[in-house]
């Protein structure tokens, strides 16, 4: 049985990666299991300078999901290169740096800096809903997506993944724009913007008022968007949004994903990503699949 997939010139031993922001830089979960057993690991979103993130309550629960408004708290790219990247690279897995910025030039500079390191791929977060200035602006309109992707492409000497926001009019247009700008792969979806209310105080529950929805409740939206993006572009797609089981992984692959990321599941089950990776061959057996690659995009429609 084959679980290995090829992504931007790298071989992932299985299609399971971790989703940015839910896995730190891997250290915490490496205490539970060897994170080298995963196909890939994606670190917390990085910015040029360290960021404190949002104040107040940053997480809320909703049926089958959570809302977060961390606001890109991170130690900055230099600290990452010095202190976190060597640890990640010491693991037998593909290492992805996730980056964000407030201006096109921020994105260019951080990607240029990371291109000088031994990080394997760079994932561009142009869709973080929790940063007031920036992020969102690029991710919403296809023109913005293309502009920032093209600018970054010019500076990027690593495979470039563009992570798409679901908070847009037409995901296929944005996927095409990223491809046109020069993306080597797409990942989707980021969180869906939502809100939670505290009846007692009559105030928003989250410090940032709005937050990003994730977890099992977003999976149907994510599957739909992965499918639409898959039909619109020819670059590989990394699917994510609510993945909790090996069956979920196979569903995303059928819709068009070459690899997947596990996010919120890590937060409530420290073994989630490994459990899903280990369970993959069982699920493959059950559905008579000998090579996961045969699934990619093979959804039978109409």
């Amino acid at each position: 049985m084959n679980t290995a997939v090829k992504l931007c010139g790298h071989t992932l031993k299985n299609p399971i990666m971790t989703a940015s922001g839910t896995f730190g830089f891997g250290r915490e979960y490496d205490e539970f299991y060897d994170i080298g057993r995963l196909g890939g690991i994606v670190g917390k979103g990085l910015t040029l300078a360290p960021r404190e993130g949002n104040d107040g309550v940053r997480i809320a629960e909703t049926p089958s999901g959570i809302l977060n408004c961390v606001g890109l708290q991170n130690p900055g790219v230099e600290y990452f290169i010095e202190n976190e990247l060597p640890f990640m690279k010491s693991k037998d897995t593909v290492v992805v740096a996730n980056v964000a910025g407030s201006t096109v030039s921020d994105y260019e500079r951080i990607v240029e800096r990371l291109s000088d390191t031994d990080v394997d791929m760079i994932e561009l977060n142009i869709s973080c809903p929790n940063v007031k200035s920036g992020g969102m602006a690029f991710g919403v309109l296809p023109s913005g997506v293309e502009e920032v992707t093209r600018a970054v492409r010019g500076k990027c000497r690593k495979p470039l993944i563009v992570k798409l926001s679901p908070n847009v009019a037409n995901i296929a247009d944005n996927a095409k724009a990223a491809e046109l700008g020069g993306a080597d792969a797409l990942s989707l979806i980021n969180t869906i913007t939502g809100m939670a209310v505290d009846l007692k105080s009559r105030k928003p529950l989250l410090g940032n008022v709005t937050g990003g929805l994730s977890g099992p409740c977003v999976k149907p939206v994510a599957l739909r968007m992965v499918r639409q993006a898959y039909k619109a572009v020819s670059v590989p797609i990394i699917g994510l949004g609510g993945i909790e089981s090996a069956e979920d992984v196979l569903e995303f692959m059928l819709c068009g994903a070459t690899a997947v990321q596990v996010g919120t599941a890590n937060i409530h089950d420290p073994y989630a990503a490994l459990r899903i990776a280990e369970d993959l061959t069982n699920a493959m057996k059950k559905y008579k699949i000998t090579d996961v690659n045969e699934l990619i995009g093979a959804l039978i429609e109409g």
Binding site: D55, G65, T264, I267, H268
Partner: protein, 248 residues
């Protein structure tokens, strides 16, 4: 820290709105006073685990007290003998084992949970414990705490023990007891009051903070609070912080 599938061996009502839960599992690790656990709750659509302070622990069992707050803790009350719970522990830094002769421990309501082990960890010192509750029927763990130091139970309405807040009980003994350190866990107003008392007297004071949590292990950055001007993770860098660094 490790994640265990533990068996419920007791889940009993302590008083109105409060339960005590005891879990059993093989190979329970050593627990420091002030550390906590993340417990799964029964409803399948409630995906986050709930943080609870560890009241007691040995190599086979651990116990908790919890207040019915919302959907998760409400569902916890329905667990019975033999049910299983996923429990990750021990988490957080816990109270330090400090060098001094006299330690004051101040708890309010469910905040008393992590203080028993914290007091026991410091059994080589003179420990005085001031635990406060709203009224007599809400008093918890009196027997347990009286083993860990000289206990003063306080009630806000005077229906039992010292009439007043635990801070008032502490203040009334400060000149005579002269504690060199204070440990506190409880509602924010209590912790702010203890911070004021400790700092005005130059007593090293540690507070155990509460924040909504996701992962409990330091990875998701959803549980932060301001510590010395920077956002720190309550689950990993805390929950216990020096009073001088928080509530500014």
């Amino acid at each position: 820290m490790k994640d265990y599938t533990a068996k419920v061996i007791a889940n009993e009502k302590l008083c109105d709105g409060a339960y005590a839960l005891m879990l059993e599992t093989e190979g329970m690790p050593e627990v420091k006073g002030g550390q906590f656990a993340m417990l799964s709750v029964p409803p399948a659509d409630r995906i986050l685990r709930r943080p609870l302070g560890i009241v007691t622990a040995d190599d086979r069992t651990c116990s908790f007290i919890y207040q019915i707050k919302g959907k998760g803790t409400e569902a916890l009350t329905r667990l019975t003998f033999g049910d299983t719970v996923e429990v990750m522990l021990p988490l957080g830094n816990g109270f330090p084992k400090i060098e001094c002769e006299r330690l004051a421990v101040v708890g309010g309501g469910f905040g008393v949970a992590p203080l028993y082990l914290a007091a026991k960890d410091n059994a080589d010192k003179e420990v005085r414990i001031y635990n406060g509750f709203a009224t007599k029927s809400q008093i918890m763990l009196e027997g347990l705490f009286s083993e860990a130091g000289k206990l003063t139970v306080c009630t806000d309405d005077g229906s039992y023990g010292f009439h007043g807040f635990p801070t008032q009980a502490l203040e009334s003994e400060l000149d005579e007891f002269r504690p060199q350190a204070i440990f506190c866990c409880g509602p924010e107003p209590l912790m702010r009051a203890v911070k004021r008392i400790g700092e005005s007297r130059g007593i090293t004071t540690y507070l155990s903070l509460e924040q909504r949590m996701g992962c409990g292990v330091g990875a998701c950055l959803t549980c932060t609070c301001k510590v010395a001007g920077h956002n720190k993770r309550v689950c990993k860098d805390g929950p216990v912080f020096l009073s001088t660094e928080v509530y500014e």
